[in-house]
């Protein structure tokens, strides 16, 4: 059999014309579940212009494609495969590349990578000194890629997009500071020349000499405009191209106008009446200096707002020790694949999510779950990436890596939440759309009014009015007000194990007045235990438990496990039931060893006609103790009552007290019987109980509360409570570690404690307060200062605004908003540590 040689290298464009421009590549396909999938993909590929052959092999999960690189690119092929519903198992990585100095270096590296086996795509960027590479992990790995780059003559390092962003932020900060220094230094002589009265040497100068100095000032202010102020002018032009105007437009116009006017006035004094020439070059350079300084400070303050995310990202490990082909090797964490066997030594950070397969240890999971006691891990237990191993050693199989780990998903969720908006922002957003053009209109109006109606020197006052208006207006604060506070609030919540989905969730959470708590698993631990067995008649305890356990074998009821466990402790091995039937809202029934057994509540006993006698009183006693009584009848006769009790979570009482202290009504909802529910409610301090609620009615109960005019939060464990969580104004899923349904709820409490509810609400309240402060400040600042700058106070009290003061105010406005938001970082969260 002739084996056709599969040409592996150059799985990208950039192939030499040797093969008459045709290349055959091998692509591993993911997502094929059956042989017919191959037909789908083959058809999709065959329809692409430029592909001459496409064969899929289901067994090896590979696609063999022959194509002409000049007519179709690999990227297109991959997209077609993806659009058909499958995927190519490729990996993406970004590598930092040093010592690239020019465009031809870029070309060299790109060609080297693209010609390397298994590389699907490579994009090198000079500006960010990095290469984004997509490759097939079955054919190559990071080490080979790095070698390829090194053989092209450049050094590499693993790129973390986080550090790239930080680098660019640092660069921006330094650039701002440099621009500030230049503007500040130039401002000194310019100020001196603009206010000659105050300076000994200049005081007595001749007008003509002074004019020469002013021309000099005009000239040296140019670099300030071009260099220090470059971002404003570039930004204004860019916005202009999009038919938009922003803060850059205002500053560029304001300073530009001031400079133009002053230059014309100095060069052609004849055009202006009398002695009205006053140069305003100081305005130009000082305002630019101040605004640039403001931007630098703002950037620094903003850097602090992302602290929470940085902390979370710091939890990730960098390397992992895996066993590949029988050898233990240390690899970068990005290279760990699902299914890899990972070795963890004492003190190691667990790199990815997985299941323990060998060994045992204690793991400190406090950073994710809040459990201060280390969790014992043995074979079969889940381990979470980012947690720290204590003193044992073990091996585990990686189940989730890279973006799929719990930690990565949490980080992603927090990042997305930080980018979301809250409904309160709507007004600010609408206003910002019109804001800058409106300011421009006001500036022109101010000019006209000053010129037509104002006193002499009219043209100067008109110019000042317009320029000051343009400079003092601060559109940035409108845009910054909400997002900055939200960012910090969400970050703060995340630090406390509270994941908030978006800004809207925070806003609604801050207005909650009612919290509905699901009993089992939320107020209680969710691990019920068999506590009492009371018999009547001739039965004995062992039989009763045996029959109950037999029925519960097949029941999915949460209390089933308690009964089965009770059987185990009594050394009872229950037989299998026949004719098993579950009756919702009542219990279960079936035939065990020939006897007809029913197990359930009072309603069930009434249904089968079993007379409870004294059992009823016993059940009341049990219920009053907070236990759930379950009756059992054998062949239609009441035989006994079993009590199952679910212990309370440690901090439930404290948490509920805390919630009531916040002014929130707490309601318990449960499917359990009323008496038991009431007893437990009394113990934890809940006044309102909704008992005997069927699972499907929980959402309806939430709605009933909402119809009372309440803003309701529902707290449950996520799995069974999805409708209620969705129905509530704020749905909170509570659980520990990774088993919480993060997707289903507005707020997720990863630390399984109820204290998180109080923390979530108080953080939300504090955040919204901060948002309102910022919004008020932003609106007040602009509505108060813009008219004053335009001259509205002049007719009343002769007050005008100095343009330099306007610049200072505008520069400080954004910094103030960001600093106010930063105050949130110091918020003390009640009931949590730090």
């Amino acid at each position: 059999m002739i084996k056709q040689q599969v040409i592996i290298p150059s799985a990208t464009t950039g192939v030499s014309g040797e093969n008459k421009g045709e290349v055959r590549i091998e692509l591993p396909i993911a997502g094929m579940t059956c042989a017919s999938c191959t037909a789908t993909i083959e058809k999709a590929l065959a329809s692409i212009n430029g592909i001459s052959q496409a064969n899929l092999n289901f067994a090896s999960k590979k696609a063999f494609v022959s194509y002409a690189p000049t007519r179709v690119r690999v990227g297109r092929i991959l997209r077609v495969i993806k659009d058909s519903g499958y995927d190519v198992s490729s990996e993406k990585v970004t590598l930092k590349i040093r010592e690239m100095t020019c465009a031809s270096c870029v070309r060299k590296v790109e060609d080297a990578l693209k010609g390397s086996p298994g590389v699907i795509g490579a994009e090198v960027n000079l500006g960010s000194e990095s290469a984004a590479i997509e490759y097939l992990s079955s054919m190559t790995d990071l080490k080979s890629l790095k070698k390829t780059i090194e053989s092209a003559g450049y050094k590499t390092g693993i790129e973390e997009s986080q550090s790239r962003e930080e680098d660019s932020k640092v660069r921006e900060y330094r650039s701002l500071l440099r621009r500030f220094m230049v503007a500040a230094i130039i401002s000194l002589p310019v100020i001196a020349v603009s206010y000659p009265k105050f300076f000994p040497g200049l005081k007595d100068m001749e007008m003509d000499t002074l004019r020469l100095l002013w021309i000099g000032a005009s000239i040296i202010t140019v670099p300030v405009l071009i260099y220090s102020g470059s971002s404003f002018f570039k930004g204004a032009v860019a916005a202009f191209r999009h038919r938009a105007a922003d803060m850059n437009t205002l500053i560029a116009l304001g300073t530009g106008m001031a400079w133009l006017f002053s230059t014309v006035a100095v060069l052609f004094p004849e055009l202006f009446p009398e002695n009205t020439i006053e140069p305003y070059f100081d305005v130009v350079s000082v305002v630019i200096a101040l605004v640039v300084l403001g931007q630098a400070l703002e950037l620094r303050a903003k850097g602090r707002t992302s602290e929470a995310i940085k902390k979370l990202m710091g939890l990730q490990a960098r390397t992992a020790r895996v066993i590949r082909k029988g050898n233990e090797i240390d690899i970068a964490i990005e290279e760990v694949l699902v299914g890899d066997k990972v070795i963890v030594r004492p003190g190691d950070k667990i790199p990815v999510d997985g299941v323990l397969v060998e060994g045992r240890s204690n793991v400190d999971e406090s950073m994710l779950t809040g459990e201060s006691l280390p969790a014992e891990k043995q074979e079969g237990d889940e381990v979470i990436g980012g947690t720290i191993n204590n003193t044992g050693a073990f091996k585990f199989k990686a189940t989730k890596v890279g973006k799929d780990t719990a930690l990565a998903m949490i980080i992603k969720m927090v990042q997305e939440a930080q980018g979301s908006k809250a409904p309160i922002q709507k007004l600010a957003d609408t206003v910002s759309g019109y804001f800058v053009p409106a300011v421009m209109v006001i500036a022109v109006t101010s000019f006209i009014l000053w010129y037509d109606l104002g006193p002499e020197p009219r043209i100067i006052l008109a110019l000042l009015g317009a320029v000051t208006t343009l400079i003092v207006a601060s559109p940035c604060v409108l845009g910054l007000a909400t997002p900055t506070s939200l960012m910090i609030g969400i970050g703060k919540a995340a630090e406390n194990g509270i994941l908030i989905r978006n800004g809207e969730a925070i806003q609604v959470a801050s207005a909650l007045d009612t919290v509905v708590l699901d009993k089992t698993g939320t107020i209680t631990i969710g691990k019920p235990a068999l506590t009492d067995v009371i018999i009547i008649g001739e039965g004995n305890e062992k039989d009763v438990v045996r029959f109950a356990a037999a029925l519960e074998k097949n029941s999915g009821h949460p209390l089933a496990e308690a009964i089965l466990q009770g059987a185990r402790t009594r050394d009872i091995v229950p037989s299998d039931p026949e004719d098993f039937k579950a009756i919702p809202g009542h219990g279960v029934e079936g035939i065990v060893d020939g006897y007809r057994i029913t197990l359930g509540n009072r309603k069930l006993m009434d249904r089968v006609g079993a007379d409870l006698g004294d059992l009823e009183k016993d059940s009341h006693t049990l219920a009053d103790e907070g236990k759930t009584p379950i009756f059992i009848s054998i062949d239609g006769k009441a035989a006994g009552v079993i009590a199952v009790s679910d212990p309370l979570k440690e901090d439930s009482i404290e948490a509920i007290k805390g919630l009531k202290g916040l002014g929130v009504d707490v309601v318990m909802i449960t499917g359990d019987n009323r008496r038991t529910a009431k007893a437990i409610a009394k113990r934890v301090g809940i006044d309102r109980v909704l008992a005997e609620v069927l699972p499907e009615d929980k959402a309806r109960e939430v709605q009933k509360l909402q119809l009372e005019g309440r803003k309701v939060a529902f707290v449950g464990d996520g799995i069974n409570d999805a409708p209620a969580l969705a129905r509530a104004d704020v749905g909170m899923a509570i659980g520990t570690g990774t088993d919480v349904a993060i997707e289903a709820s507005d707020i997720t409490l990863i630390k399984g404690s109820l204290l998180g509810i109080q923390a979530a609400i108080s953080i939300s309240k504090a955040t919204m307060k901060n948002v309102r402060e910022n919004l008020f400040g932003a609106f007040f600042y602009n509505t108060a200062l813009i008219p004053v700058a335009a001259g509205i106070l002049y007719p009343l009290w002769g007050i005008t605004m100095n343009p330099i003061l306007a610049g200072a105010a505008m520069a400080m406005s954004s910094v103030t908003v960001v600093s106010n938001a930063n105050r949130l970082r110091f918020l003390k969260v009640t009931g949590r540590d730090g």
């Binding site: 997209r79 960010s128 962003e165 916005a239 999009h242 938009a244 209109v441 022109v444 037509d452 845009g479």
Partner: protein, 123 residues
């Protein structure tokens, strides 16, 4: 006399500002369709280019953002109506996938709302 000139010029300027920034029509860009998916490449530099996108309802829409600047303003793009936001690291192509179901106009913007774009979804 000069006052009239100044006033007239001023009023004209105001009119122009209002027209130019608030009312003038932006050039729209229709999403190209390939294999059932609508795709648009958007350059992010000082603004979104293009910033007016027309797409069809019911078909998945893929927006490929490449941010070509480092100024922190544009580091995130937010599609409020779709409850989606994406971080745009500098010089990287980021894909945002949406499924526009209802026809209408949807704004998207940077996190601070200063840089804006509009997505128009038609039948």
């Amino acid at each position: 006399m000069d006052k009239t000139i100044v006033t007239a010029a001023g009023v004209l300027t105001i009119g122009w500002v209002i027209w130019f920034f608030l009312f003038s029509k932006k050039k729209e860009y229709r999403a190209a369709v390939s294999s059932g998916v609508q795709e648009v490449i958007i350059k992010v530099k000082g603004g979104y280019t293009p910033d007016l996108i027309v797409a069809k309802a019911g078909k998945p829409l893929r927006l490929l953002f490449t941010r070509e600047e480092e100024a922190s303003c544009t580091e995130m793009v937010v599609f409020e109506a779709f409850n989606k936001s994406a971080k745009l690291p500098p010089y990287e192509e980021v894909t945002v996938e949406l499924l526009p179901e209802k026809p209408g106009e949807y704004d998207f913007s940077c996190q601070m709302g200063m840089i804006r774009g509009k997505l128009i979804v038609e039948e």
